[in-house]
Amino acid sequence: MHNINRRDFLKLSASGAAAATLGPLLSTQAFAAAQSAGDYKPMFEIEDNAELQLLRWTGFIKSDEEVWDKNTERFTQLTGVKVQKQSLTWTDVQPKSALAAQLGSGPDIIMGWYDDPFIYPDQLVDVSEVCDHLGKTYGGWFDVAKSYGYSEEQKRWIAVPVGAPGNAMTYRKSWVQEAGFDEFPTDFDGFLKMARALKKNGHPIGLPLGHAVGDANSWVHWVLWGFGGKQANEDNSVAINSKETVEALDYAKALFETMPPGVSSWLDANNNRAFLSGHISVAQNGISIWHVAQNEFPKLKDDIHNAANPVGPVGHPTTYNLFTQAFVFKYTKYPNAAKEYLRFMLEKEQTAPWVTAMTGYVTPALKAYSDLPIWTRNPDITPYRDVLVGSHFDGWAGKPGKAAARALNDFVIVDMFADACVNGVSSKDAAANAEKRLKDVYS
């Protein structure tokens, strides 16, 4: 599997063999190519001399931004609206957007993370028309995507959900087989048995428990929800101190015993490095590890595979993903141009090649994009297609918003797991400690 960029993709599209599977996409590409500025009918009346500043996160995969930029160029050709893009490391976007919200000045559009728009919903332009149009056109939004874009309080869309750099299990097949598992386990029990067997063979699994914003939060929420634990009830009353949470913590403790020393200090980059260097056999991650291995680790690439996250006792997937959405600040002089840009970028003509080029690194928030041929081109990509199915937002089952954002950024759930696993605190006490912290947060 090679890194497929837009050019490769277009070549593939042109080939007869690919035409059968890429038919719908091919036609949209052809449509895009044929369309000229004169034909273009914007959905919004774009302001005269509009120019936009976009702040987004640096692509985890190089081809992401290459295709994104080409799509943007196409938008400029068709509308005359110049778009100036600034890319920052993903964790640096949040402080910058916080600054923009506080000062009332900055980029017109920001591609942010998690609950960012719910921290300052009053500052954001209503993007309901864009979301309604996209939702109707592309089979609707995944539930979790809607939670990250639609404000129940304001009864409007405050952000356009883009998608999730989703999580699945990346593993070394030979080691998993050597541990006695022909297939990657599909439930929590099997996963723990495999982890123990892998440790015995000197190939432990590795899941971060440091203050890793993405990777630590992801796996602990997956386990918590897998047992039916939750941070808050629907009315935002704290619900963490429960039998289900204690069971989740007991399970995490058992998993932690199989992991190598040091996972308690791991930040977001550690598991990628540890996996690719052979220190661990299993990591929960975006498709980036697999993607990098395909291109830069020729000796390993055939042994590295992806599988869906095992399912917990609740009986359905409970994957927790990074989630990115785009929002427009009210201080922008060109709200219509901004809305038009977001609509344009999430139309199939643009989104299909974008997602394809980055081998599905971002799973789109719109359901129709689950049919893109990229998801079935290689069975290792397929698990990432479904990461939004059954997924929850952070703070679930409470409301997305300031309290949920604060709890996430205070690492309350990660610390609860680390307290139990690393500090040796009993599961009941760890849950009770987390409850105290959450009560302060939600008060």
């Binding site: 300052y120 308690s264 690393v422």
Partner: protein, 305 residues
């Protein structure tokens, strides 16, 4: 008036203006005005705004309402805040002691003239002049649980058999961060002490030698007393920088594991910027001010002396 006109020629407006300007009461404030305006705008205003925000329930993008000392009351019963306060003090106190003693030792070594001493003095400054984030990243690699060069070295010489988990447990992480801060801050003390040592009159040391004082006695009774004023300055300023250190800790641990390396600055950032609770974040930041004022008082007093 006629007599005056005869003895003192009438002054033009320009001359009168110049004469007025040339008085201490006018020129002094005038020259100080730009600096005062800059200080008020860039220091006093943000400080007062911070104090005000800490008394409100402001969140990002909203002005909030006055809630008195509620944020402080919440913080004082918050175990994460209390942990951050504890580690801030430990981090500062621990780092200052080691930076001071090792910096002094280094200065005493570099105060001697040996072959290549000028190069040695320049190299010594490297940790101090390197950007904090870069040195923090380098240390992150050195202390990495899987790829630590330090662990590798210790294994090669047979001192340990498996990698040390420098940042994975509470106390190991706390001490590791102090060690990195010490590494970074030693040059500041060393260069300060070097300047202090070179300012000590040689006659005093010669007189002590003639009187039969040993090296240790010369250090205790001559050198150290003369270094005390500069020590106060160095410690005061360095303590202010250490207690407000953010980059090193944020880059290496994000305050983890389990908040064991959380300090005032990282917690303030976490609460105000990433968590959106501007009021509470401001309260965390403002709560350092009493400590800072004490340190600043020492710094100013020692500078005057």
């Amino acid at each position: 008036m006629a007599v005056q006109s005869a003895t003192r020629p009438a002054l033009s407006t320009w001359q009168r203006t110049l004469r007025t300007l040339d008085t201490v009461n006018v020129l002094g404030p005038l020259l100080a005005a730009p600096a005062t305006i800059i200080l008020l705008t860039l220091l006093a205003y943000p400080l007062l705004l911070g104090v005000w925000l800490s008394l409100t329930d402001s969140t990002l993008g909203t002005p909030g309402h006055f809630i008195g000392f509620h944020n402080y009351l919440v913080l004082f019963r918050d175990p994460v805040y209390r942990g951050a306060a504890f580690y801030s003090v430990l981090y500062t106190f621990g780092a200052e002691i080691f930076k001071m003693s090792l910096g002094l030792g280094l200065a005493l070594l570099l105060n001697r003239k040996f072959r290549g001493y000028r190069i040695a003095r320049s190299i010594m400054l490297l940790p101090w002049v390197a950007p904090t984030v870069l040195s923090a990243l380098a240390w992150l690699w050195l202390l990495d649980p899987q790829f630590s060069a330090l662990s590798w070295l210790l294994q090669q010489v047979g001192l340990i058999h498996s990698n040390i988990d420098f940042l994975g447990t509470k106390w190991a992480a706390r001490l590791s961060l102090i060690a990195v801060n010490v590494w970074r801050g030693i040059p500041y003390f060393a260069i300060g002490y070097l300047a202090g040592l070179q300012a000590i009159p040689k006659e005093l040391l010669e007189a002590a030698s003639i009187d039969g004082a040993s090296t240790w006695n010369k250090f205790v009774h001559v050198t150290w007393p003369l270094l005390i004023p500069i020590t106060t300055i160095l410690v005061s300023f360095s303590s202010i920088w250490t207690i407000t250190d953010f980059q090193l800790i944020w880059t290496m641990t994000h305050g983890g594991p389990v908040n064991s390396t959380q300090v005032f600055t990282t917690l303030a950032y976490q609460r105000a910027i990433t968590g959106g609770s501007l009021g509470q974040g401001a309260a965390v930041a403002i709560s350092i001010i009493p400590v800072m004022l004490i340190l600043a008082w020492f710094a100013v007093r020692s500078t005057r002396e």
